[in-house]
Point group: C2
Chain length 663, copies 2
């Protein structure tokens, strides 16, 4: 290393971050200067000395992952990426911070910029996502060894991240799995939006982390050298580490630093000018001194030789093809083909949660890339297959995670695994508890992360556990989310098809699965993956078609019974199975028109049957159709009693249709 005297001090490098943060927020008149200014020194320490990365190849598989969990401080990472020499953001991108078309969005978005590993902003989730990245790293390391996989995950988190409930789940999971490769820098500036952290917290944060088996360190976060020493200690320790960086929010803004005023608004022209002077910055905005820029670029090139070495090791490795295939993670129809053939040859009544386990047996045997798990409902979600060892601190090669009662933490960790690459995560809970992990499901969708949510007990069909455990509005509320596909298969075939479709998806999928046994229905139709089309005609009317019954999941067998009753009265009825409304919506008009002919044809009554909220089913029935469902909370009773009580039987539904038909 060059002697310190020959290069700009770390502080001058850090001040370049401060300058860009102030200037970009000022130009946008919107944004959060306080955090980047407070954490500039700590980030400088990390990016100039410890973090392993190469701006020339942001996707280098063995790079360290850096997660800005306090995503509102997005200018910190934009400044870092620019200064260290990533192709983007350019200085123009930064000048256009928070403007339409700039990759420098309000919060860091991984789909906008290489070098942003995950989209952050919803507090607490960045850190919890990082836990998943750290899991994926240890897992792949266990398989491929240090030569190919040997990196760390660094996080900058603020008080918001640490106060959110998900933090408890993430810290607990990381501590339990002894993820020593996870290092969190806590921006301890004692300020939240509402003011001092004393307004809302009396917690000894360090003691809480120690209680979960973390190493805890404390440093002056404004001294890059001290932060660097702490990073050395963190790297040397086998435990996950929390480094408390004592900082001053908005450091350098002479009149506003240390106050909530610097958190989420431009500092103002005069304050910026004063800060510029006090920090010894160039008086012109968006201007970085040449020697500082050189030093940053030089720091950005640190990893280049290491990357070249890594590629040599990869080329020399006998596992190269496996490793690259696992990273690519491309789904293959053949994984499930034998299983599907068996089902078509003769399926038996089975709960779709059990059918999912059967599909998983085939998948997990065919491909070693999956990592399953459940939020403490393994036997209910049917997520664990034969011989699937637990992934534990003693066996990172395992492929099943006991997440504990941590739905949200599980979901965020799965996002992290999917974003890290090299594993296909799936995890289970009850569908009603989709609510517990909904913020992470949204980030799966926004980031197009291939996470497969196995959500069982998908209606009042779960029975006695009652309304707290019975989803009603969940299917529709998940279908309303952009970028998410919700599959509700009707039997074992559709379940296997849904798995195939979910594996082939770029983004996330929810599999909504029954607790109760369902009789095979899909054998009546063709062998191609009809579930992947979203909806298909399961049976065609025998008599002249007067009714189209549209049903999902456990209600398809009811629809078949209704059709039989109608046909018995000479009324022709199609039955359409619609396991995935989003996919059906994406079919071409001709296909949709074939399955659901023009609704204005009043001669045909469309009827939806789903044991959940009818809200939204107008899309398929039209206003003059009939929507059979449940627009209230459920009740505690055996499932058959509930179906009868709420009128979800062919006996109850058929007369309603007849009445509507004027019969």
């Amino acid at each position: 290393m060059e002697p310190e005297t020959l290069q700009p001090t770390q502080r001058r490098l850090a001040n370049a971050i401060r300058a860009l943060a102030m200037d970009a927020v000022e130009a946008a008149n919107s944004g959060h200067p306080g955090m980047p200014m407070g954490m500039a020194d700590a980030a400088t320490a990390l990016f100039t000395r410890h973090l392993k990365y190469d701006p020339a190849d942001p996707h280098w598989p063995d790079r360290d992952r850096f997660v800005l969990s306090a995503g509102h401080g997005s200018m910190l990472i934009y400044a870092l990426l620019h200064l260290t020499g990533y192709a983007r953001p350019t200085l123009d991108d930064i000048r256009n911070f928070r403007q339409l078309g700039s990759p420098c969005a309000g919060h860091p978005e991984n789909f906008e910029l290489a070098g942003v590993e995950t989209t952050t902003g919803p507090l607490g989730q960045g850190l919890a996502t990082a836990v998943g990245m750290a899991i994926a790293e240890r897992h792949l390391n266990a398989i491929y060894g240090d030569d190919l996989v040997d990196h760390r995950t660094f996080v900058i988190a603020g008080d918001g991240c640490l106060m959110e409930g998900i933090n408890h789940e993430a810290v607990g999971l990381a501590g339990h799995l002894k993820l020593g490769r996870l290092i969190v820098l806590w921006d301890d500036n004692k300020i939240t939006i509402d003011g001092s952290t004393d307004l809302s917290r009396n917690e000894d944060v360090m003691a809480r982390h120690a209680a979960c088996g973390w190493q805890t360190l404390e440093v002056d976060g404004l001294e890059a050298g001290k932060v660097g020493q702490a990073l050395d200690k963190a790297i040397a320790d086998e435990r996950p580490t929390l480094i408390r960086c004592k900082t001053v929010i908005g450091y350098g803004a002479p009149n506003k630093q240390g106050t909530a005023a610097t958190h989420g608004a431009a500092l103002g022209k005069d304050e910026v000018a004063a800060a510029r002077q006090g920090l010894g910055l160039d008086p012109n905005e968006f201007t970085i001194p040449a020697d500082v820029m050189d030093a940053w670029r030089s720091a950005g090139q640190r990893g280049s030789a290491e990357r070249a070495e890594w590629h040599r090791r990869l080329d020399a490795s006998k596992r190269k093809a496996d490793f690259l295939a696992q990273l690519e993670g491309k789904a293959d129809d053949k994984w499930l083909k034998p299983h599907l053939d068996t089902l078509f040859a003769g399926a038996k009544p089975v709960a779709t949660r059990k059918a999912s386990e059967m599909a998983l047996e085939a998948i997990n045997a065919a491909v070693p890339w999956t990592i399953g798990g459940s939020a403490d409902l393994t036997g209910s979600n049917n997520t664990k297959t034969k011989g699937q060892d637990a992934l534990t601190a003693d066996n990172y090669a395992g492929r099943y995670i006991y997440y504990g009662i941590r739905e949200f933490g599980m979901a965020a960790a799965m996002n992290g695994m999917a974003l890290h690459g090299g594993v296909i995560p799936y995890g289970g809970t009850f569908l009603v508890f989709a609510d517990y992990c909904r913020p992470a499901i949204r980030l799966s969708a926004l980031q197009t992360a291939r996470v497969i949510y196995v959500m069982t007990h998908d209606s009042i069909g779960l029975g006695e556990d009652g309304p707290t455990h019975q989803p009603v509005e969940h299917l529709q509320s998940l279908r309303a989310m952009p970028g998410l596909e919700v599959f509700r298969p009707a039997d074992a075939v559709e379940t296997a098809e849904a798995w195939a479709a979910a594996l082939a998806n770029d983004g996330p999928s929810v599999l909504a699965l029954s607790r109760q046994n369902l009789r095979p229905v899909r054998t009546k139709a063709a062998k191609e993956n009809l579930t992947a089309k979203g909806a298909y005609r399961l049976i065609s009317a025998a008599a002249a078609r007067k009714v189209i019954l549209i049903a999902t999941g456990s209600e398809v067998e009811i629809a078949l019974d209704v059709a039989e009753r109608l046909e018995g009265q000479g009324i022709g009825a199609d039955v359409v199975s619609m396991p995935c409304t989003e996919r059906f919506d994406a079919q071409d008009a001709a296909y949709r028109e074939d399955i659901l002919p023009d609704v204005s044809n009043r001669d045909i009554l469309r009827v939806s049957i789903e044991a959940g909220a009818t809200f939204g089913w107008e899309r398929y029935t039209g206003l003059h159709g009939l929507r059979i469902g449940l627009d209230r909370f459920g009740a505690s009773a055996p499932a058959p009693d509930l179906y009868e009580h709420f009128g979800l039987t062919s006996e109850a539904i058929t007369p309603k249709i007849l009445e509507r038909l004027g019969k």
Copy 2:
């Protein structure tokens, strides 16, 4: 107190709980015997010696609150209520455990049984709700003094409750507010559904609570006497207390105790018989020895004298009328009348979040019953009014809570406050973070708890913060939830009307409010509360009506502009403002038909305009209508740029309508 020798031992009392739990689960062949059997002794200690209650008046305002946070162990509370002499559940109710019509639902439901203070089952929420009850108690105590308000909140929580993220928020909030009246009995049985807690947790739970300022105690949970001593210590201490009760799940089942097998399934006939023998129980099911029943009933009468004393104090109190009115909490239109009169006299453009603050100024001045707060977005949610002091450990009389970055904890605490009675809680966050507290919103709805969620920044109109902060699917996903009313007002008048409607609601309401200024629109219509009708005709077509524009919130002013453009071309257009779809759906057919005439009339095109998911709007436009919205995630840019980019302007919408009309 009688000498111990003259009454059955505590263990015999506890075994009556065990017997009922085993028998009820066996009869239903469904349920969770393990927890009641493990915690029977601890619960006996609490209900026979410490808990202040009177089965003759379950709603006695100064009773202690008991929350079974580990709600799956519902037979514990059903047994306790029956044994101590509550009118319900009867033994027949218990025999019908988990059957349709029995109040003994799978999980305890406060709307089924007096004595059940809150509906539990979704893990972690019971405890977090109890925090709100403890806050309400201290607040009312600060106002009315020990004579009228002097009770405690006791919780039984399992490992699931303590692992859930919300636990971190609840424990942090309770510690910060020094809620010494909150006492949590932790059923430390080392078992979760998946097996040993070692599978998923290495945490020192006690240390984590101590880190938040809790007292922590540890006892043998199978010795009622020891638990009683710990309860004495807890009651004597000023801090909230966690009592670690070391127990054995399913205690008494000779072959299954201590294993996950006792958690969630009937023990089986033979195991029950063996347990009965080992515990010295009557060999017949549902049979309690007379002396044990007498002892329980006697314990249940302990509070009767105290309640009589309390009533005497209440009758003697000068504050009696105030106290009773506050407990009743009946909303009054006059709270907002002067404010509304001012608005009708001349409103200015204002963001509806600001309009909400204006309404709150009137409400908080008119009535001292409200307790506001925000999850660290006070200045953004506009939830704090002039002179509203903070509710803190030093000033429980305050009426504003800095909840910290704890959306879920806030929501659950608000449920607790509403269920406790005597306060009307409202709290703020961004609408996008409704996802973070969604499980608690669901419990607000299920329990018809009057909680008012102030959710601002309700669309891409928030601008630069980008897609992580821009709600898209949230309005529809909340509208899909039974029992919840979502108000999205268009201006200051509608905002005040929405507040009036929300206050008058039995159940919860969400106010979805804009960040950006909106021009006054409502002055064009009548003075009665039209928002309470859910939708109303804001303007009638001038030319022959060809179009009905239906809009909510910030899009109403756009609809007005569109109407003007259409009328300019001789096309008549109504504008319907629809601030609350659920309320509109509840109007009679004549009203609905007047506002939205039969959709089959193809001469009239219905168009919905809402800056969010169009999914579900078919209910109001019909399939042949037009739905203007946003069916993808947003972007980071100034709000006007986004509205233009996504085609949410009158310039972009009008041509689409003209095209559809064939013009």
